[in-house]
């Protein structure tokens, strides 16, 4: 009788695997069901946005950066605009800040809903996806109201916002916020104590505190191992220090802990939205009113020569940004997210670099999946919430 041979097998997971969030390819070496080694291969979605941005005027970069992290587009544009505004030294009126906070938090809700829906579906809870996308649809409708574009609104601009809030926006957001906590309870009912869910997520993909920090993981991944780091608290921007909210943490560091942290983040976001909405006055400034950077109001453009010239200059040549560099991070849905912008004093950026949280999380995937089972790979990828547009840029 021939001797039983045992050898490891190399399996390609992706890039067309439906559960790898786009085009992530994992080369797995497996011994039966156990993962011996794993190597993520990325770059399939590389579109050279950073190179393209160097050819554009400052304001024109916004639609490009929104397409990086396509599930949290407004956190991209917010981070980019804050960095450029820091470089120029622009101060925003309070109303603009509150509107930006509201948009950033709605954006976080929208991104987390896609995460929860797809994460649940990948592990086998298909109905969760239907529930989450039902609410996400309403958030996309709000985007449509805001800017006429559901996925990439490009509503946040350097120097403020594109235009004032549309009529009926307050009421629409209020309606959504009043209904949403009950929906969140529904998700909890579906998953939080579900035995199958617990079995698939508890103790899976664990990380230690030291590894998390060494691998540069921040955001929900770090909060799930008990590192209560949140950019909104540690390095406040948009006057987040004046808002009342807590940073949810867990200590287990597994997939379930990440789930708990993100679910609680949604509740905090609802609270932040409510606070921001209460502060937004029905009328008022929607940009910095510094006409070197934002176009003058249309009624002045049609009646005054200077305003018309300024309007023409802004739309043909753009504006110059003083020489220098800035990096102002925001707390995006996936962790610290920022743009390092460098200016040589001209009307086009010299360099636009995104600090992409998904890119860093992708690097840490082998650490989380080696030693586990092949079925857990999907659970781990889902819990890190990587967006390949953000990884490859």
């Amino acid at each position: 009788m021939p001797e039983l041979r045992s050898e490891t097998m190399t399996v390609n997971m992706g890039p067309q695997h439906p559960s790898t969030h786009g085009v992530l390819r994992l080369v797995l070496e497996i011994d039966g069901e156990n993962i011996v080694s794993a190597e993520p291969t990325i770059g399939f979605l590389h579109t050279g946005i950073e190179k393209t941005a160097e050819q554009k005027k400052w304001q024109q970069v916004i639609p490009l950066v929104e397409r990086m992290d396509y599930l949290g587009p407004q956190s991209n544009s917010l981070a980019y605009c804050l960095s450029v505004e820091k470089l120029i030294g622009l101060e925003m009126p309070e109303r603009v800040t509150w509107i930006r906070v509201l948009i950033a938090e709605l954006n976080r809700l929208s991104s987390h809903l896609v995460w929860l829906g797809t994460h649940g579906m990948e592990i086998g809870a298909v109905s969760v996806m239907l529930y989450c996308f039902r609410e996400r649809e309403q958030l996309l409708n709000l985007n449509e109201m805001l800017a006429g574009f559901r996925l990439f609104p490009s509503y946040i601009r350097i120097g403020g916002l594109r235009e004032d809030l549309p009529r009926g926006f307050h009421e629409a957001v209020r309606t959504f916020l009043d209904k949403f906590p009950a929906k969140l309870d529904e998700y909890h009912k579906l998953l939080t104590k579900n035995q199958v869910w617990l079995g698939r997520t508890k103790g899976v993909g664990q990380l230690s505190r030291e590894d998390t920090m060494a691998l540069g993981l921040v955001g929900p991944l770090a909060r799930a191992v008990g590192i209560p780091y949140d950019v909104r608290k540690a390095f406040p921007y948009l006057k987040y220090e004046t808002f009342d909210f807590t940073v949810p943490t867990a200590t287990a560091g597994d997939v379930y802990a990440r789930y708990q942290v993100k679910m609680e983040e949604m509740r905090q976001s609802v609270s932040l939205c409510n606070q921001a909405l209460a502060r937004i006055s029905p009328t008022g400034a929607f940009d910095c009113r510094d006409f070197r950077y934002v176009p003058p109001p249309k009624d002045r453009v049609y009646t005054e020569m200077e305003a018309l010239i300024q309007h023409f200059l802004l739309y043909s040549q753009g504006f110059n940004v003083p020489k220098g560099e800035a990096y102002v991070p925001v707390e995006g849905p996936r962790g610290e997210h920022g743009f390092y912008v460098v200016s040589d004093g001209s009307n086009r950026p010299l360099r636009v670099k995104s600090r992409a949280p998904s890119f860093i999380a992708c690097q840490a995937l082998p650490k989380m999946i080696i030693g586990g089972l092949i079925a857990d790979v999907i659970a781990v990828i889902g819990s890190t919430d990587v967006v390949m547009g953000d990884v490859d840029r």
Binding site: H46, G216, Y229, R351, K353, D392
Partner: protein, 205 residues
């Protein structure tokens, strides 16, 4: 700790390093020579008064035609009480820091900081991929975003924005009309043969 205090601390901890403060609007910025980059980084991470445990990002800027042409940029953060580095007993003040290393065009190599912050692995690969800067002692220095057989470094200022080039693994089908017709005829005959394995007998009158 403010920029001047940081500077004094580093100059004492790493004698011989050329550390210069640079002006920036958002955070303290220091320029370091590349020979002392690793020593300075280690102090920044391990000193209990600094605790820059989080390396936020590694990137580069191409300053063509200025010299030094390349500028490595390291962003790091101390996140205060949320995380203490090994050996520290009290949290340091949460702060951010930018470290810059200038690299000449003809010798664009810099020591890798992956030994100090493992998170630098992929960002350094990205910089190598897009700028062609060599990271000495990097454990796995390969292209990451661009295809493995890509020529050139796309984010350099002298790299063209658009390259019109046929994909290497595919060439368009070139065929004349006659070849095409003959091909079709051969295919047709084969199909007939398959359908009628025995040639039909000619009609005999």
């Amino acid at each position: 700790m403010d920029a001047s205090g940081l500077l004094d601390l580093l100059r004492v901890a790493v004698p011989g390093a050329a550390i210069e403060p640079l002006s920036a609007v958002d955070m303290p910025t220091l320029a370091v020579d590349r020979d002392h980059l690793l020593e300075v980084s280690r102090v920044l991470r391990d000193d209990p008064r600094l605790q820059y445990a989080l390396l936020v990002d590694v990137t580069a800027v191409d300053r063509l035609p200025n010299e030094p042409r390349f500028e490595m940029v390291y962003h790091m953060a101390c996140i205060g009480a949320a995380f203490l580095t090994a050996g520290a007993t009290a949290p340091a003040q949460a702060s951010r820091l930018r470290l810059k290393v200038g690299l000449p065009a003809d010798d664009a190599r810099v020591p890798s900081v992956t030994g100090i912050w493992p998170t630098a692995g992929w960002p350094e690969r990205e910089v190598f991929d897009l700028f062609g800067i060599i990271f000495v002692d990097h454990p796995d220095l390969r292209r990451i975003l661009m295809p493995d057989d890509w020529e050139g470094y796309p984010l350099r200022r002298d790299s063209p924005v658009q390259i019109r080039k046929d994909a290497a693994s595919w060439s368009p089908l070139q065929m004349t009309a006659e070849e095409f017709a003959r091909n079709v005829r051969v295919g047709h005959d084969k199909a007939v043969k398959r359908a009628h394995p025995v040639a039909p007998k000619p009609d005999v009158q």
